[in-house]
Symmetry: C2
Subunit: 316 residues, 2 copies
Amino acid sequence: DDNAYFDSYAHFGIHEVMLKDKIRTENYRDFIKNNPNLFKNKVVLDVGCGTAILSMFAARAGAKQVIAIDQSEIIYQAMDIVRENKLDDKITFVKGRLEDVEIPVEKVDVIISEWMGYFLLFESMLDTVLYARDKHLIEGGMVYPDLTTLSLVAVGDMATYADHVRYWDDVYGFKMSCMRTTLLEEASVDFILPGVVMSEPAMIKCIDVTSTNSKDLDFTTDFKLVMTRRDMCTALVGYFDVIFERNCTRTVMFSTGPKAPKTHWKQTIFHFKKPIELSEGEVLAGRISCRKDPKDCRALIVTFNIDRETLKYYVR
Amino acid sequence: DDNAYFDSYAHFGIHEVMLKDKIRTENYRDFIKNNPNLFKNKVVLDVGCGTAILSMFAARAGAKQVIAIDQSEIIYQAMDIVRENKLDDKITFVKGRLEDVEIPVEKVDVIISEWMGYFLLFESMLDTVLYARDKHLIEGGMVYPDLTTLSLVAVGDMATYADHVRYWDDVYGFKMSCMRTTLLEEASVDFILPGVVMSEPAMIKCIDVTSTNSKDLDFTTDFKLVMTRRDMCTALVGYFDVIFERNCTRTVMFSTGPKAPKTHWKQTIFHFKKPIELSEGEVLAGRISCRKDPKDCRALIVTFNIDRETLKYYVR
């Protein structure tokens, strides 16, 4: 029954949110529309097609055939949508896990997918795109988006710190320290006001979707954040950028960072238990490791090592 | 693993939201604090205790003993919280479904519970409170809140209608009628701007928690909404009020209606597929039926009969 629930409204509601995220959907649309040479007479695979909006953009751009695959019940809505728009001669649906099913062509020329999750890698759908690339893409075929980057900034935001961390010191006159400890282990997904950013961004991962491998998606890297002003640093914040570039007549990119227009991905916030005082020009150096949670393959475990302290968070 | 997820962050996050809902928590606090005569030296049962905030209010008001029961893992946090506040001699925890477990006393003097869900009855936790009342409450004992009411108003909100209903006519140049049909079956939980209300409220259900029975919670009733201005009616909106009154020195009440301060329950919106034009003073008469979804006992099926049309919605 839980599955029935997740396969009905929960999924349909999220598709409404994703369609209405104009930064996401319009950038995909613009990439496809402004680069018709990539799609004209091509066989295209849309991995995790949802409502089939990307498949329809590709069909409208002149694709010869689009294979649209999704394992969710949303695919039945997508079939209706494609029929309603008279594109059912161009778009073929496959319901199932890509790793488990056959698709009606042996090879495709182009793979498109909107696979990004919170902190880029939540939900691990990129693994499926890489599997599709290795199995179904012709030699020299293209995968879009072709490049994504993951970045960190430091933020100084004592108001949010008070609300999220100090709050538990006095909850209607009671102390709730254990709630603070438990909730601090969870990364928050929320919007950061641009004004609270107190460092330059530091890129911690660049994924070339054409060449990366699944095992590279668990990674550890050092980072250095250079402060742009003096403040109490209360959290690190992660976000990603998406780039459509290779072979494109017109490059398209968008950012989910705190200074860019809002998207449904918001930003991912790793709150500190104790703020760190930092001066302008000072460098906060550390190491970040990001890996799949072995207990929940959709979730991520993100660990920071800063100043001999280890801070562990779940993104889920 | 899904259960592990729901029993960890999902549940803990909702408890943060509920604690931070000041209308909810402060009204419970004020009721308990301002009516110490109801709690002094009494044995109190807190049904669905969560973080045990109500149990601690009761202990602080002089309760002799509080039994706090919850089936969620949150109860382990509650145990820590109560120890941290040195109330563990007053508050006794029981983990489990109330219907399945023994409690350490035979009878209690007072039952307190915050059992209300979206559209009052979503999640059906009132059934558990009624079970507790019938099994554990002494003759003449009290249950709080003792009164709740469920009401409807008509709203005229063409902007939301455009965003929610007409949106699907042209999604980046494509039609998605089936998404409209599917999403219209789902009641939305969201805030209504007070300005869009276009009728007097009509009460559709009054629940006296001291005397009602589980079977009364599935109900059908006629309603009449008197328009306060001429407009296109685009939706009906449901909300509830909560009253602590019986034997109280000071009555406490709060509303979750569109004209009251915001709560985490927001309002429940039943969008029309087609707006209905109505004049000032005109009456929109209909019948509403509300029952548990036999396929998902937490969910509700709400059916309206208006003008020979039947509109069916899920609250889930």
